[in-house]
Symmetry: C2
DNA sequence: GCCTGTGAAGCTATTCACAGCT
DNA sequence: AGCTGTGAATAGCTTCACAGGC
């Protein structure tokens, strides 16, 4: 199993590589990827090593092959499905950002408790009533939940997701959610991050 | 100067403490804060130590005092101002999330190049034409920029922010931006994070 | 000559574990 | 008895530096 931080960087490399591919690049050196990803060349080589891919000392890494190789490490060959809970501005932003971006990973259902949103299709993703969450998550075989509801509802939504059998949660609500240890959870705390930037903008 | 990760956690502790304060709590132990923040008690104590605050072995930490102490480490006494560039769904979500949350840190201007948005006030924040960015950032004394424009425009926007004298950038566009070394930059890469969750949802 | 792959070194961050206090 | 504060130990992550290959 690849380390958490390495997975993050591999995802970034892949995005860069896809752009390079579309620009017609055949090969790339670790120092070039490093600049584009904002890391050191040694870091790039280590990360690529960790998925067992090998470059060529003369030509660097094959762009297409490396994309392929990252895919076979990161992606589920069957594809994975995510559900988004909370169709506010942030939820819609995520649906827009993400729609059709990655073939092996799609947000296939959205949930909200505002009945004006029910059955509407936003960015190719249908919106359901929140109380149908467990039913639909199981029916569609979804295993990732994205929480974009207000803080006060986050734990309740998380519990429902876990009951429905989800395995990973991406939480945008600014509270720590308690989940069983076998669930992977990642928090994106936008307020905290802005405060961090403010602090270092001052101190640097 | 406090370490990057510590600043992040202090911001989280503060949010928890504010909630505790509003619930009438007077004191709190490191192990209680630890559970609520999702870290270890030793971590909490180290972080608090790093800002020079001291608790009491009998009563733990004073809630109000600790909030005060975190504030005097993290906040600029004069207050700091931020500008948001790109008033799409994500931009609006951030304005909503953040409006009036922290007295010492406010988003005071938004920029977009859609003229239908000019002069509209969104969550108490006025929207200006993108080409007035440098002028207004300087006029208002803004020193933090939040980038929520599409990838293709992010570097250009970042350059304008830097020219205008900004000191820190929070970047939501999924590209690494090149900035001078004296600018602090933090990236929030939502696609990358979702891919991380997807990976560990599978592997755990 | 300039690259990759990688053992070893170096750093940073976290946790242990316990003295000291109340 | 149960907490905080903290030196020391540990774990995790990144970079160095160089052998080996083209």
């Amino acid at each position: 199993m690849v380390a958490v931080k390495t997975v993050g960087r591999l995802s970034i490399y892949r995005r860069i590589l896809n752009r390079l591919l579309s620009e017609g690049a055949k090969n790339v050196f670790s120092h070039q990827l490093a600049v584009m990803a904002g890391v050191t060349p040694a870091q790039v080589r280590r990360d690529i090593m960790s998925i067992g891919y090998s470059g060529n000392p003369n030509r660097g890494y094959g762009v297409a092959d490396l994309i392929e190789s990252i895919g076979s490490s990161l992606d589920d060959p069957e594809g994975q499905k995510a559900a988004l809970v909370g169709v506010g501005n942030l939820g819609r932003a995520i649906l827009t950002y993400f729609s059709g971006r990655r073939p092996k990973l799609a947000i296939v259902a959205a949930f909200d408790n505002d009945h004006k949103k029910f059955d509407r299709v936003i960015q190719g993703c249908r919106c359901y009533a929140l109380d149908r969450l467990e039913e639909i998550v199981q029916e569609l075989g979804i295993d990732i939940g994205i929480i974009t509801v207000p803080s006060g509802e986050a734990q309740k939504v998380s519990n429902a997701l876990v009951r429905a059998g989800i395995k990973g949660i991406l939480n945008y609500a600014p509270v720590r959610i308690q989940v069983p240890r076998n669930i992977y959870i990642e928090d994106i705390d936008m307020t905290m991050t802005l405060e961090k930037v403010a602090y270092f903008a001052r101190k640097k």
